[in-house]
Amino acid sequence: MVKVENITKIFRTGIVETNVLKGVSFSVGEGEFVAIMAGSGTGKSTLLNILGCLLKSTSGSYMLDGIDVETLDDDRLSEIRNKKVGFVFQSFNLLEGVSATENVLLPLVYAPHYPADAAERAYRALESVGLKDRVNYKPSELSGGQQQRVAIARALINDPAMILADEPTGNLDSDSSKEIMNLIRSLHGKGRTVILVTHDVTVARHADRIVFLKDGRVDREEKVTK
């Protein structure tokens, strides 16, 4: 499903070059649940942006679902994000002032064909994250955990190849965190590929496998024993 080889990323600010990623290689199989673990400032956000096709690497190769992402132009990358990637962010990133349903519908606005049953699909997605009673609530009327559920429903609406979660519990209390992690686990249980980026080992341990990142490289990989 995901195969990255020797990915590097160099940021240039004026004459200063920052080597954030120095050759990252790993792969994630279809239906697998992998956590990428690293401390802050080790390039994990950069890696996540590259995996999510929001950022191009400086060198190396990235295959996503059989597509060589590194060769694509901006429009094609947008299509890949739309079709194959479901983002879940630490800070939820919902549109303020519009209902949960409309937030969930957002990726469909940019889909090649706006489906006739869009509203029904949004309802089912919200139902699957346990929010069928909250479809018309606005983000400001929902708790943090509920907002993250809306975000997860949004990530699911286009039936993506991979769910990409960036510290999904970083802004939540422990009870909500548990709920969200259970929800993500259940997605994985239904056969979704999930990649989770975190610095929190208890969160990472929900995954099947953990990839440890250190100093811009993969330090080691470890299977999680339940």
């Binding site: 956000s45 950069t46 942006n49 999510g52 929001l54 950022l55 901006d74 429009d75 947008s78 299509e79 994000r81 739309n82 079709k83 983002f87 962010f89 990133n93 549109l95 002032g97 519009v98 957002l106 990726p107 606005v109 940019y110 889909a111 090649p112 064909h113 706006y114 949004r154 286009n158």
Partner: protein
């Protein structure tokens, strides 16, 4: 389908940011309203000029004896027109009739203890057809008046205002020069000429009375106005009149004309070009103010884009292409400027109507609306494209960080 969905996003964004929308629309409204008012006024002035040309000139060729003033009596009293001249001219193909008249500029007029000065004309009854001008009250000079040298007159509204105020002048006697005339009618109001002459400051008297009693030149025919059927023939007819007059006066080849022939063409051309220059000048000035609105739009949209970086980043992450972001922000700009244009055009027309209440001519047609809509849309596109491109080029990875 897809683009209509994005357009809906734009519309919602406009509705959500009400203060922003209000400021942009206000800026556009001011500009477009100014433009609309100027277009209405310029159109009105143009229409007025065309009207007065139709009234006063395009169907007429006027002849004046001697080498004197453009209008009014000549100093050369021996170069008068004869009845034969007039009859010959009337026989030219294309001339419908000819109306001789005498004129005296700025004669002193008196009624009771009120004084004024006015143009005094000695006219035939067909004067009212030649000038397309009758009376609004009372009657015009009649054939009987001509016959009996009646001391009757019809007066213009300026004279009425000067001498009588609000009271009814009909039946009153006024002193013209040193002869008393009885007011029998009030002439239709004509306003000002394109060059500012007051066409209502005049008194018309019977031709015969004027010749003998007023100007003391019994045989004198100083001026005449020939009415022609087709304005485009003015030049040909003027040429034929010249030939007839030269022949009747037995002028040798080497002698100059001792009369003047005027068609309205020359004056019309000059007036038209002045009015066009003024219109262009005002339009240029008026076109600038919507541009200021455009700059305001660009400013506010740029602020909006930087405020909404996160939203833009999110949309990009969800699969929005750059061109779709451009489209979203352009549509927002155009919705705002178009609303401003619509409102501005309506307000502008309202102001134009209000101005017209004070007597200024205006012209309201589809043009101000077409200009307002097209111009406001162009402003939305032109000044909206830069902020929209800026929005599209936001780095989504950074915006979401």
């Amino acid at each position: 389908m897809k683009f209509s969905n994005i357009a809906k996003v734009s519309l919602k964004a406009v509705m959500k940011h009400k203060m922003r929308a209000f400021l942009i629309i206000l800026a556009i409204v001011v500009g477009i309203a100014t433009l609309t008012v100027v277009v209405c006024l310029a159109g009105g002035a143009d229409k007025k000029i065309k009207e007065s040309m139709d009234n006063f000139g395009s169907h007429a060729v006027s002849i004046h004896s001697g080498g004197g003033a453009f209008r009014g009596p000549s100093s050369a009293s021996d170069a008068i027109f004869t009845k034969k001249d007039l009859a010959d001219i009337e026989n030219i193909d294309g001339v419908s009739f000819i109306s001789p008249f005498q004129a005296q500029l700025d004669m002193p007029i008196k009624y009771g203890n009120k004084f004024t000065t006015s143009w005094v004309f000695g006219v035939m009854p067909n004067w009212k057809d030649a000038w397309k001008r009758g009376v609004t009250k009372g009657r015009f000079i009649s054939d009987d008046d001509i016959e009996v040298l009646a001391k009757n007159c019809a007066v213009g509204t300026t004279v009425v205002k000067e001498l009588f105020g609000d009271t009814n002048p009909i039946g009153k006697d006024i002193l013209v020069g040193n002869v008393y005339f009885n007011v029998v009618g009030i002439l239709e109001k004509k306003g000002q000429s394109p060059v500012g002459t007051d066409f209502d400051n005049l008194i018309v008297t019977p031709f015969t009375t004027a010749s003998r009693r007023l100007m003391n030149q019994p045989l004198y025919i100083g001026n005449a106005r020939a009415i022609i059927d087709d304005p485009s023939e003015a030049k040909r007819i003027a040429g034929e009149i010249r030939e007839i007059l030269r022949r009747n006066r037995k002028l040798a080849e080497t002698e100059e004309d001792d009369f003047k022939i005027r068609t309205f063409e020359g004056v019309a051309k000059m007036v038209k070009s002045i009015s066009k220059t003024m219109s262009i000048f005002f339009l240029l000035v008026a076109f600038i103010s919507p541009l200021v609105g455009g700059v305001v739009l660009m400013n506010i949209m740029l602020i909006a884009v930087s405020e909404r970086k996160r939203e833009i980043g999110l949309r990009r992450a969800m699969g929005a292409k750059k061109k779709q972001i451009v489209f979203q922000f352009l549509v927002e700009s155009v919705i705002l400027t178009f609303s401003g244009g619509l409102l501005g055009a309506l307000i502008g027309v309202g102001i134009a109507i209000w101005i017209s209440l004070s007597g200024k001519p205006i012209s309201i047609s589809w043009q101000p609306f077409a200009i307002a809509f097209i111009f406001s849309t162009l402003i939305g596109l032109f000044f909206g494209i830069y902020p929209a491109k800026k929005a599209a080029n936001i780095d989504p990875a950074r915006a979401l960080a």
